[in-house]
C-alpha cells in the first residue's frame, strides 16, 4: 500500500510533538497538533500548521481519547497519525483504529504492538527466539503467588513488580522485602490501571546494579531490519531514565556485535516494521544480558542515535509508513561520534518532587555539539497533569570525554530556566562524578549517591546572584527605606 502522506496529525504534546513536527517541516509535510484545554497555548500547538482542541486536562479526556483524535484527523484533513512517545504510542487498539479509519499509522503494526505490549508473551517469544530472559512469573494477582514462585525458583529479594502493559517506569515497583510485597503489588496494579487501563502484573527477579542497554532498530515493510547500534540508559531514578548515551561505554566490540545481532534477529523474527527498541539488562559481573522488553515506538532518547548515525529516525518512520524501502543497508551504518542526552524534567533535583508552573525565563545553551529538543518556550506553562519532561539536551563529541565536556558546558553555561525547578543541578553533578566519567554506573547509582550528588550542586553563578540583587532593588524602590536599616 504505497500511499502519499498529505498531512500528519501528531497525537501528542510537548517534546515528542515538537520533535515530530520538526521533521515534518523538513519534509514540507503539513501537520496538525491536538491539544487539551490547559495546553491551548503550548509550544507544540504553534509548531504545527493547524491545531485541534480535543478535550479537558485529564489525559483520558484528551491525549488518550482515541475517538477524539481520529475525529481531529478527519476534521483537519490529515491522512496520517504519528503518536510520538507516551500516551497512545504503544496502544494497539489506537493503531488499529487509525488504520480502520483509513488513515496511515506511522509506527509498527497493531499486531506487533499488541504482541510486544504484553510483557509476558513478549518474554516468551524472546525466550523462544533464543534471547536470554530474566526469571519471572506472570499473571500475578496476590502476594502469596509471588512468595511461592520465589521459593520454587530460589529467587531472593529484591524483586520487581511490573505492569504487564507497562513502560516508562509507570506501574513498576521494587519490593525489597516481604513487607513491601503486598503494598507494592497494590501500587503497581493501581498505576497500571491508571496509565494503561490494564492491571495485569508480572514479577521478575531484580538484577542488582544492572546496566540498561537497548538497541535501536529500524525496519521497513520489505524485510529489511537494521540496527542503529545501542544506547546505554543505566542512569535512572525511580526506573525512569534521566541520562542516556550512545554508544554504551559498558560494551566492548564483541558484546556490541552480539547484542545488536540478537536484537535484530528478534525483531526480524516478529516481523517488525518502523522504529523500535529492544531493551536489555546487562549484568556486569557475569557479563550476561537479559531481554527486558521491546518498545514498539519512537523513544525519547532516539536523538542521540540520530546524532551518532546521521539518520533521521522520524523521517524513516514516515517513509516506512508510506511503504518505502530503507535507503541504506546495515553495512552503511557507521557511528562516528559519541552522544549524550540528559532529560530536563520539571522536578526538584533534591527529591524529584514535581515542580509545575510558568517558565518565567528560558535561555537555551547553544554552541558546538549541542542539540536541544524543547517542548516549551519562555512564558509557557507546565501543567501538573502530564509528564514532567520539558526539554532534552544532547551533546556530541569525537569521543565520550569530548561529549561529556560539551554537556558540561551546555548545563553550566547559559542554560537558564526560571519559574520551575529542573533536574539540571543533579544532571551536572552526575556528569561530573568520577564514577560517571569512568563509565562505572548502575541503575542504582543515583539512589546510592544522592547525598554526595546534592553536595556537588554547583554554587550560585553571578547570573543567579544578580537576580537576588535586582529583587532587593525592586523592593526598596517600591517600598523606600526599611525600618531594619
Amino acid at each position: 500500500m504505497n500511499r502519499e502522506i498529505q498531512k500528519i496529525l501528531i497525537a501528542n504534546r510537548g517534546v515528542p510533538a515538537v520533535r515530530v513536527a520538526h521533521t515534518c517541516r523538513d519534509r514540507r509535510i503539513p501537520t496538525t497538533a491536538v491539544y487539551s484545554t490547559p495546553d491551548r497555548l503550548a509550544h507544540h500547538v504553534f509548531m504545527s500548521d493547524t491545531a485541534v482542541h480535543i478535550g479537558e486536562a485529564p489525559p483520558a479526556e484528551s491525549y488518550l481519547n482515541i475517538d477524539k483524535i481520529i475525529d481531529a484527523a478527519h476534521k483537519s484533513k490529515s491522512n496520517a497519525i504519528h503518536p510520538g512517545w507516551g500516551f497512545l504510542a504503544e496502544n494497539h487498539e489506537f493503531a488499529q483504529a487509525v488504520i480502520d479509519a483509513g488513515l496511515i499509522w506511522i509506527g509498527p503494526s497493531p499486531d506487533v504492538i499488541r504482541l510486544m505490549g504484553d510483557k509476558i508473551r513478549a518474554k516468551m517469544i524472546a525466550s523462544r527466539a533464543n534471547v536470554p530472559t530474566i526469571p519471572g512469573i506472570s499473571d500475578v494477582t496476590d502476594a502469596e503467588q509471588i512468595r511461592e514462585w520465589m521459593k520454587d525458583e530460589n529467587v531472593v529479594f529484591p524483586i520487581m513488580i511490573k505492569a504487564a502493559a507497562g513502560g516508562g517506569g509507570k506501574g513498576m515497583v521494587k519490593a525489597e522485602n516481604n513487607e513491601q510485597l503486598a503494598s507494592g503489588l497494590m501500587q503497581a496494579r493501581s498505576e497500571a490501571k491508571k496509565s494503561f487501563g490494564d492491571e495485569a502484573i508480572l514479577v521478575e527477579k531484580y538484577i542488582e546494579r544492572g546496566r540498561h542497554i537497548e538497541v535501536q532498530i529500524i525496519a521497513d515493510a520489505h524485510g529489511n531490519v537494521i540496527h542503529l547500534y545501542e544506547r546505554e540508559c543505566t542512569l535512572q531514578r525511580r526506573n525512569q531514565k534521566i541520562i542516556e548515551e550512545a554508544l554504551s561505554p559498558t560494551l566492548d566490540h564483541d558484546l556490541r556485535q552480539e547484542i545488536c545481532f540478537i536484537a535484530t534477529r528478534l525483531m526480524r523474527e516478529i516481523g517488525y516494521t518502523s522504529a523500535g527498541t529492544v531493551e536489555f539488562i546487562f549484568d556486569l559481573p557475569t557479563r550476561k544480558f537479559y531481554f527486558l522488553e521491546v518498545n514498539t515506538r519512537l523513544q525519547v532518547e532516539h536523538g542521540i542515535t540520530e546524532l551518532i548515525s546521521g539518520v533521521d529516525i522520524v523521517g524513516l518512520m514516515i517513509d516506512v509508513s508510506m511503504g518505502k524501502r530503507l535507503p541504506f543497508k546495515q553495512a552503511d551504518i557507521h557511528p562516528n561520534r559519541w552522544a549524550l542526552e540528559v532529560r530536563l524534567n520539571a522536578e526538584d533535583p533534591r527529591n524529584f518532587s514535581p515542580s509545575f508552573g510558568t517558565i518565567t525565563r528560558l535561555e537555551m545553551p547553544h554552541g558546538p555539539g549541542v542539540r536541544i529538543a524543547s517542548g516549551v518556550y519562555e512564558g509557557a506553562n507546565i501543567p501538573p497533569y502530564y509528564d514532567s519532561l520539558f526539554m532534552l539536551l544532547m551533546a556530541t563529541g569525537a569521543d565520550r570525554a569530548d561529549a561529556i565536556r560539551v554537556m558540561d558546558r551546555a548545563l553550566s553555561r547559559n542554560l537558564r530556566v526560571e519559574g520551575v525547578k529542573t533536574l539540571a543541578p543533579l544532571l551536572l553533578s552526575i556528569i561530573r562524578h568520577p564514577a560517571f566519567i569512568a563509565g562505572e554506573v548502575s541503575t542504582r547509582f543515583i539512589e546510592e549517591h544522592m547525598d554526595e550528588l546534592i553536595s556537588l550542586f554547583r554554587v550560585a553563578t553571578s547570573e543567579d546572584e544578580v537576580l537576588k540583587v535586582a529583587k532587593y532593588v525592586a523592593e526598596i524602590s517600591a517600598l523606600g527605606p526599611q525600618s531594619w536599616m
Partner: protein
C-alpha cells in the same frame, strides 16, 4: 611639612607581636590608629558606614603608614549583621585585599567579645582563634582583668598582638593607684610588657590634659618600656590638648579619624592632629598626602549617612558628669526620639550623673547599656506616674543623697526619702540585677551599698547578696555544646552552615539567622549596591545602577513601578537589558498562607501534587476520629502520573483532615493532624 619617604609603612601583618611593639617603641614621635573604619562610624553614625564606602579609603590607608586600622569589632559586628547585612568576615577579606600592608584591629569586650553577654570559655576560644585580625584591643567595662584571660591566651598563642585596655573615667575612686593596680594585673596576665601595647580607653572623652598626663606619667615611671596608646573620644570639646599632653607624657599611639568624618563624639581629626603635634615638636608618623586624599575620599560618601547621625548635635562638656560614651550618643538619642522622650534627655543625663556615683563601673558596653536602660527607665517611670515634676523631684532627692548626705542612707529622712530610694531600682532591667549579682565580674570600686540591693531585690535582698558571685564569668560559665549548637543552626537554615555563619550564630543567634535568611534572598546586595540605592532604591523610571559582581558588569534599571493594588506593587526592572517583573508585597498585602506541617503530629504532603485518594482501598475513606495504624496508607497523592502513598507514622487517631479530595497541595503542606495512641 614632612620629608617625603620611600615608604611610610613601618608595621605590617605577619610581623610578630614583639617586632611590632619594638617598631613602635623605636619610632621617633607618635603613630596613629585610624578608627575611620569602625569607631568613627559607631560614635557619630550608628555604625551604618557600609564596607562599600569604607573600602574606598583602603588604598590610601595602605600607603599612609598607620600603626593600625580599627575596622572591626565593637558594635560594628552586630550592627553589620543586623542592619547593614554585612558579614564581619567578608569585611576582613575585602580589606585584606585592598590594604595588605595595614594591621587590622578589632575591639573586643573581654568575655562579651562582640556581643552583650558573657560567653563561655570554649565559645571565646573558638571564635577568637578563627578571626583573622592582627591587633586585638580588649577592654573590660569593670576593668576585671580576669575576664580577659581567654582572649589574651588565644591571641598571644596565635602570635597576634594583644592590646589590653584599661577603661578610663574621672571619678574620686579612679585614682592613679587604682589604675596602676589594673595595669599590674594586665602585665602579669601577659607576662611582661614587650609583647603588648597598653591602651587607655577614654570612651566618654573626659580625660583633661592634667589628669591624663598624670596617669601616663605614673605608668611610665613603673613601666618605662611600656608602649601606650590613648584612645580618646572628643565629646567634651577638649580632646586636642588632652591628647597632646598624653603624648608629651609618653603615649606613642593615638586614635584619629578622617577630618571629614569627625562630628562630636568620635576621635580626633587626623590632619589637625598631625599639624598640631608637629607644631608642638612631636613628629607624627603619617604620609600627609595619602591622609589628605583619604579625608577627601570620605567626603564623597559621608553625606549618605546624615540620616544616621545623632539627633543631638554638638559637643557636650557635661559628659564629664553623665559619662555617656561616644558610641552611645547616636543610638541613645535615637531611642529617645523613637520612644518620644527626647525632651526628657536632660533629665536622663542628670540621672546618669548621679547614678554613676552610686553604682560604680565604666560607662562602656555593656555597662553603658545597663546605665542607659536603668536611668532612662527611672525617668520615664517617674514622668508616667508623676509627671516631669515628679522626675525632677527624684533628681533633687538623689542630688541631696549624693551631694549633701555623702550617700549616707541613714541620714535621709526615714519614711518618705528612704522609702523612695528603696523604690528606685525596683523596676530596673534584668542586666542591672545581673551586674549586682556579680554575673559580669567584680565591680571596680566594690559592690554597691546594701540599700541598692534592697531597692533592686526587695525582701530577697539578703539572699541575693549571699548568692553574689566573686568569680569571673570565665570560671563560672559552663562550656556550650558546640556540636548541638551547630546542629541547631543547621536545622534552622536547612543546610550545613559555613564556619563563619556558625561564629555569627554563636555571637548573636537570632540576628545571625536573620542575616543568613536575608543573604539567601537578596544575595550580595549589601556589598555591591551604592549607598543611596541600598537605602532608597531607584527613584524614577530610567534610573539605573551599574556595578560589578564577581568580575562581570551588571546594570539594573527601573522601567516602571505600578500602582499598589491589594497590597501588591509590580515593578518592571531591566537586568542587563532583559526585562523582569517583580511582584512586591507591601505591608498591606494579604497573606494567603498555606499551612505547613510542623510538629510530629502534623502529616505533610511528601510531594507537590494532587490528593486523589483519602484513605486506602481496603478500608475506604478516612475521616476525623478514625483510628489508623502505623504504616497504614492514609492518603495517596499523584503528580505527573506517579503515585505517592502518605503513611501513618505511628498508631493514631485522626484529629483533623486538612485537605479535600482532589486538592492540589504543596510539598510539606499539612494534610492530617494525628493524635498518637
Amino acid at each position: 611639612m614632612k620629608k617625603k619617604r620611600e615608604s611610610s609603612v613601618f608595621v605590617k601583618p605577619g610581623m610578630s607581636a614583639k617586632e611590632i611593639v619594638k617598631a613602635v617603641h623605636s619610632l621617633k614621635g607618635v603613630c596613629l590608629t585610624s578608627t575611620g573604619m569602625r569607631d568613627a562610624g559607631q560614635s557619630d553614625f550608628k555604625n551604618r558606614h557600609r564596607i562599600y564606602d569604607l573600602k574606598t579609603l583602603a588604598p590610601y590607608y595602605n600607603k599612609m603608614g598607620l600603626f593600625s586600622a580599627e575596622c572591626h569589632g565593637g558594635a560594628r559586628w552586630h550592627v553589620g549583621v543586623m542592619n547593614r547585612r554585612e558579614c564581619p568576615f567578608e569585611e576582613i577579606r575585602i580589606l585584606r585585599e585592598l590594604m595588605p600592608d595595614v594591621l587590622l584591629q578589632t575591639l573586643v569586650r573581654e568575655t562579651n567579645l562582640w556581643g552583650y553577654r558573657p560567653y563561655p570559655k570554649n565559645v571565646i576560644e573558638y571564635a577568637v582563634s578563627r578571626v583573622d585580625i592582627d591587633v586585638w584591643r580588649c577592654f573590660s567595662f569593670l576593668n576585671d582583668v580576669r575576664n580577659m584571660r581567654a582572649v589574651a591566651e588565644v591571641v598571644m598563642r596565635r602570635g597576634r598582638l594583644f592590646e589590653p585596655s584599661i577603661s578610663f573615667t574621672v571619678a574620686d575612686w579612679a585614682t592613679n593607684d587604682y589604675y596602676l593596680s589594673v595595669v599590674r594585673d594586665l602585665v602579669d596576665l601577659c607576662g611582661g610588657t614587650d609583647e603588648i601595647i597598653l591602651c587607655i580607653k577614654d570612651m566618654a572623652g573626659i580625660g583633661s590634659a592634667k589628669r591624663i598626663s598624670s596617669l601616663v606619667d605614673a605608668i611610665k615611671q613603673i613601666y618605662p618600656d611600656m608602649v601606650i596608646q590613648y584612645h580618646r573620644h572628643i565629646t567634651d570639646g577638649l580632646a586636642m590638648p588632652a591628647v597632646l599632653a598624653a603624648v608629651q607624657a609618653g603615649v606613642k599611639i593615638v586614635d584619629v579619624e578622617e577630618d571629614s568624618m569627625v562630628r562630636f563624639y568620635g576621635e580626633l581629626p587626623i590632619l589637625s592632629v598631625q599639624a598640631y603635634f608637629e607644631e608642638s615638636g612631636i613628629p607624627v608618623h603619617i604620609n600627609r598626602t595619602e591622609a589628605e586624599a583619604a579625608v577627601q575620599k570620605a567626603r564623597e560618601w559621608i553625606g549618605y549617612y546624615e540620616w544616621a547621625e545623632s539627633p543631638f548635635k554638638g559637643y557636650d562638656h557635661t559628659v564629664i558628669r553623665h559619662k555617656m560614651p561616644g558610641g552611645a550618643f547616636p543610638s541613645s538619642f535615637e531611642q529617645a526620639q523613637k520612644g518620644e522622650f527626647l525632651h526628657l534627655m536632660p533629665l536622663i543625663l542628670k540621672m546618669m550623673s548621679l547614678y554613676n556615683r552610686v553604682v560604680k563601673y565604666f560607662d562602656v558596653t555593656p555597662g553603658s547599656q545597663i546605665t542607659w536602660v536603668t536611668c532612662s527607665g527611672i525617668i520615664n517611670r517617674y514622668v508616667k506616674e508623676k509627671g516631669e515634676t515628679g522626675a525632677r523631684h527624684i533628681i533633687m532627692l538623689l542630688t541631696k543623697f549624693v551631694e549633701e548626705k555623702a550617700q549616707d542612707f541613714e541620714a535621709m529622712e526615714k519614711d518618705e526619702e528612704q522609702e523612695e530610694l528603696l523604690q528606685l531600682f525596683r523596676n530596673a532591667p534584668g542586666d542591672f540585677k545581673n551586674l549586682l549579682l556579680g554575673n559580669y565580674g567584680k565591680l571596680p570600686a566594690g559592690w554597691p551599698p546594701d540599700w541598692v540591693y534592697r531597692s533592686a531585690f526587695g525582701d530577697e535582698w539578703q539572699a541575693k547578696i549571699k548568692s553574689r558571685k566573686e568569680l569571673s564569668p570565665l570560671d563560672m560559665l559552663e562550656n556550650d555544646d558546640l556540636v548541638r549548637l551547630r546542629n541547631d543552626l543547621s536545622e534552622a537554615i536547612g543546610r550545613e552552615p559555613t564556619e563563619e555563619e556558625f561564629i555569627l550564630y554563636l555571637m548573636h543567634p537570632k540576628d545571625a539567622l536573620g542575616m543568613i535568611e536575608f543573604r539567601e534572598k537578596y544575595g550580595v546586595a549589601p556589598l555591591v549596591l551604592p549607598t543611596d540605592i541600598w537605602r532608597n532604591g531607584l527613584k524614577k523610571p530610567g534610573d539605573r545602577v551599574d556595578f560589578e559582581l564577581w568580575g562581570k558588569p551588571y546594570t539594573i534599571e527601573l522601567i516602571s513601578l505600578g500602582a499598589e493594588h491589594e497590597g501588591l506593587i509590580h515593578a518592571v526592572m531591566k537586568v542587563n537589558n532583559k526585562a523582569r517583573v517583580y511582584t512586591i508585597e507591601t505591608p498591606r498585602a494579604r497573606k494567603a498562607e498555606t499551612i505547613m506541617a510542623r510538629g510530629p503530629n502534623d502529616i505533610g504532603a511528601p510531594i507537590n501534587g494532587n490528593i486523589w485518594r483519602i484513605g486506602n482501598p481496603e478500608r475506604g475513606i478516612i475521616k476525623a476520629g478514625d483510628i489508623v495504624h502505623k504504616g497504614e496508607e492514609i492518603a495517596n497523592m499523584e503528580a505527573m502520573k506517579m503515585e505517592n502513598a502518605v503513611i501513618a507514622p505511628f498508631n493514631a487517631q485522626i484529629k483533623e483532615v486538612c485537605v479535600n479530595l482532589n486538592d492540589t497541595v504543596q510539598e510539606g503542606q499539612i494534610l492530617f493532624v494525628l493524635e498518637r495512641l
